[in-house]
Symmetry: D2
Subunit: 306 residues, 4 copies
């Protein structure tokens, strides 16, 4: 897989941006691909009446989690209560929205490239008070549609893609064929690279330096198919970057050029079992970001319903 030159990347960026045009006031980007008709049709994916999480539990400290979140107890139910007849267990949560292990969604304000956010919004729209444009609140009604899981390690016949390896267009198309599923307009595409399984088996490593992800050119496949959202068990971006002078090229293309929300560090192990049992790789997918006004994203627990 050849690396991309800066000029090649620029051309790719412009091409993808040009295909994502819902007018200058648009703030929803690729979510526009989820039409009511497509959403209603997606409900037809529910047949077994089974649900499964696509998130991993809040992680502790590790090589890929230098600033872990924490959950601290505020009240214990076995202690004296000031209230009659009842005592409560309660806790307090704190966490970074992004990072390299906890499952989360990136808002469209998350990425700035060449001095602009998605659709020409200026980076000054994000201040110490949060994002006045393109925050995660733009998805406050949830993201619901047909989900499709493409399992790249299965297609390749490996346990997982090694850090540094790329998912290519050929991988995506090959997995589609092998799994007998076709990614279509408005779909929520989930691409498994095996990151979580590798982490479970070998323990965490410094993923900021080496990570499997999608090749930037694979984003052309997503644009062509009019994918609404991309989720991955890594953060979709290979490390180190294959593009000269651009770190996180998939983030740049997806979020800044295409207006596509990314779901990072998902967990597909539970879903795999269910898809295997059901003999199909599509489902109703529901993503419910917290309502964090001005937020750059949200922790999420995407739910697949089969």
């Amino acid at each position: 897989m050849p690396d991309l030159s800066g000029a090649d990347f620029d051309a790719l960026y412009q091409r993808l941006r040009g295909q994502s045009s819902w007018g200058p006031a648009d703030r929803r980007g690729a979510l526009n691909h989820i039409t009511p008709g497509r959403l209603a049709a997606a409900a037809g994916e529910v047949r077994l009446g089974r649900t499964v999480t696509l998130a991993a539990p809040l992680a502790g400290s590790g090589a890929d989690n230098p600033e872990p979140g924490a959950r601290h107890m505020k009240h214990l139910p076995g202690e004296h209560s000031e209230m009659a007849g009842v005592s409560f267990a309660a806790d307090h949560l704190m966490m970074n929205i992004h990072g390299d292990v906890d499952s989360h969604i990136d808002a469209l304000c998350h990425v700035c490239h060449n001095g602009t956010l998605y659709n020409g919004v200026m980076p000054g729209a994000v201040t110490s008070q949060g994002a006045s444009e393109l925050s995660i609140e733009d998805a406050h009604d949830g993201i619901v549609g047909r989900g499709v899981l493409l399992d790249i390690p299965r297609f390749r016949g490996v346990q997982w893609l090694e850090p540094g390896d790329h998912v290519t267009v050929a991988d995506l198309a090959g997995a589609e064929a092998a799994q007998q599923v076709r990614v279509g307009p408005g779909d929520l595409l989930f691409v498994r690279v095996g990151h979580r399984l590798r982490r479970n088996e070998l323990g965490p490593w410094d993923v900021a330096r080496s990570r499997a992800g999608l090749h930037p050119q694979a984003m052309e496949f997503l644009a062509e198919r009019q994918v609404a959202v991309l989720g991955c068990d890594s953060n979709s971006d290979t490390a180190p970057s294959t593009v000269a002078g651009v770190a996180f090229p998939v983030h740049v293309l997806a979020i800044a050029a295409m207006g596509m929300h990314l779901l990072d560090y998902l967990q597909f192990d539970d879903l795999l079992s269910l898809c295997d049992a059901a003999g199909r790789w599509s489902f109703l997918a529901v993503i419910a970001p917290l309502r964090l006004s001005g937020g750059t994203g949200s922790p999420v627990n995407p739910i697949a319903i089969l």
Copy 2:
């Protein structure tokens, strides 16, 4: 509405607990009412292809929010980036899981009554390290089923129930009849008391002292109908309590006796418009708690899909 004596409440507690028996090892409680068949049938509620949030944005400080959450920026996209070709907006979240304004779900470990949690679990199961039993992780695959909204102020012909007022069995049955919907087994029941609208119109008040909710006896209606989850735009409990010697009687009955997760401080205003437009009050409901191991609940953004 007469107040309940302690003895009356005890009898009610025992009656409801007796109707909720899935064996001594059960940790899912009323979620057991959501069978695969019922869940699959609920998908049939999706016709319009529309989604809507049942949560309110993270709230700032107020009379009902003495310990507000906060979202602090970690990086601004307009500032110097150490990475080539890209800069990020990122933030950090901290918040109490419970409280009196942010939309959240209560785990079954949240309430202790008469020295036990749900199903006889000892309160010592919750330590400074979190809940080893009955944490919100027991719902990690999400809660999905048919949702039904009963709008009590609409039934009563008022804007909202005043703080201190109760939703009774007669209100629930009356609203059902008026809205031409029937709450059934495995349903996620959402009861609107108008709390959010009152807050929006009049501003926040000290809800710990005065709040509209359900009368404890109304829980018999929920048990009989085999409701899986109860959500409310208040916290379902009237203040002050109508039961001598028991604060939060609905929390005690729902969580500790019936094993029913509660959704507190939801927001139904957006859903109301959509239900009105659709001419029906049932929908597919999806609740996706964050994966907080040991947690006493989670902030949530429940999504209704019509």
Copy 3:
């Protein structure tokens, strides 16, 4: 007391700034008044061998504390320990550095007026990553010198100054005479307005709107006497502001013009008793800011030693 016009304030600002000149590279401001000789002399104030706190305990939520800090337990000593022969109590702290109730010190980066921080430093020196100039780390070796307490309510014969009232030059000079003490070069000046006592007696109020403090012109007294630091049991600034078009004029004059660290919301009740018993109003004062690189200030517990 006449209000100050914008022009009067500008003239006062320029006058005070002109008297505070330690060169363009200076980052310590009025701390320069504390020479080794003065510091060593201040140690002579220690005679009784008694110490006393000038801080108040971390406060809970209140009308003057809409975003309270919190201390959450991480481990309880009575719970199971993974370590042999020992178990620990441990906790986690979170708090805003500034605010209107917790005792803290303001770094010189805290205040921006007319587009600059102290000594012409540009506000862009403070980014989402903190202050690269004028942070509290500039005082990392502590602030130690002779402290003098002027008790204005005692001089006036009242319990406390009512919110909105000003400490004037006449008050400062009068209290000096009454207390038989003279504020001199390098002193840490503590001015009591009775804010804490009023809060203890009447409960917290919305201090952002009404608060006793120093009249802006009183800063001329501090400049003339070469005071090194100003501490107050309010935040030194009267509310509402007496200056047209400038909120927090004392903050602006002290920090931005004079380079003077401010200590806000101290507690002098314990010190009062000790000074009374000792029959004098000067002491060795030690302020030990936490080492928060890039920080805009620090919670502190100033210690007076008599």
Copy 4:
């Protein structure tokens, strides 16, 4: 250096506990050694008029800091302000009180051994709401006295003590003789093992597993000399423990048996230069814990004044 058996340790514990008796109601422990006379005499140590920090800056993530604190900006002075004529820089702090890198003081509630805290206080005195006994508030007036620094690597002629090595009674006595200083009643004893220098030179390591500290028997030296407080540039405890069946034996002896506050992870590099220049190793030391009611300790910036 032979390891201690459990029985030897028990005997040492009882011996040291027996020497620390200020009655059953005592909550100050070894702080009782600081009498007013000794404190007043300590002020005589101030001759140069110089101050120096004994703390290190708040640390980022590292092998010895898996749950780092953070300082997040709340307002930037260069952004739009809602206030006339002024804008502020402000931030928010969060951190664990204990841990293996940030300079802090341990309260007497921090350690439980054989089912009790210091002086027979039951561990149930510490709940999710904090410590009702033996919290850091017991030192709210600060800890002030004569400080003495013993530099063990200098005495040994090495850069630092390697992890696992012990400071013995012979080391303490030898350093005293070499430095021509004698530790006496009420002194704040600071023992340098070179931990910070090693960390600066070699980078952080997993100090929970290997760390230089004091040998448990060295606590007899401290008891005999009536030391008030012990501070170290590690946490005073060697790892792995030299005592069979007791982790953190110095913590157990100092805090639980002797009622001695510990200062962990201090930084003596700045102090060393000053002591060298002054030609003496004693000084006035001031420790100002934050006023954290119920707290198990506090971040601190101890100040040495020469």
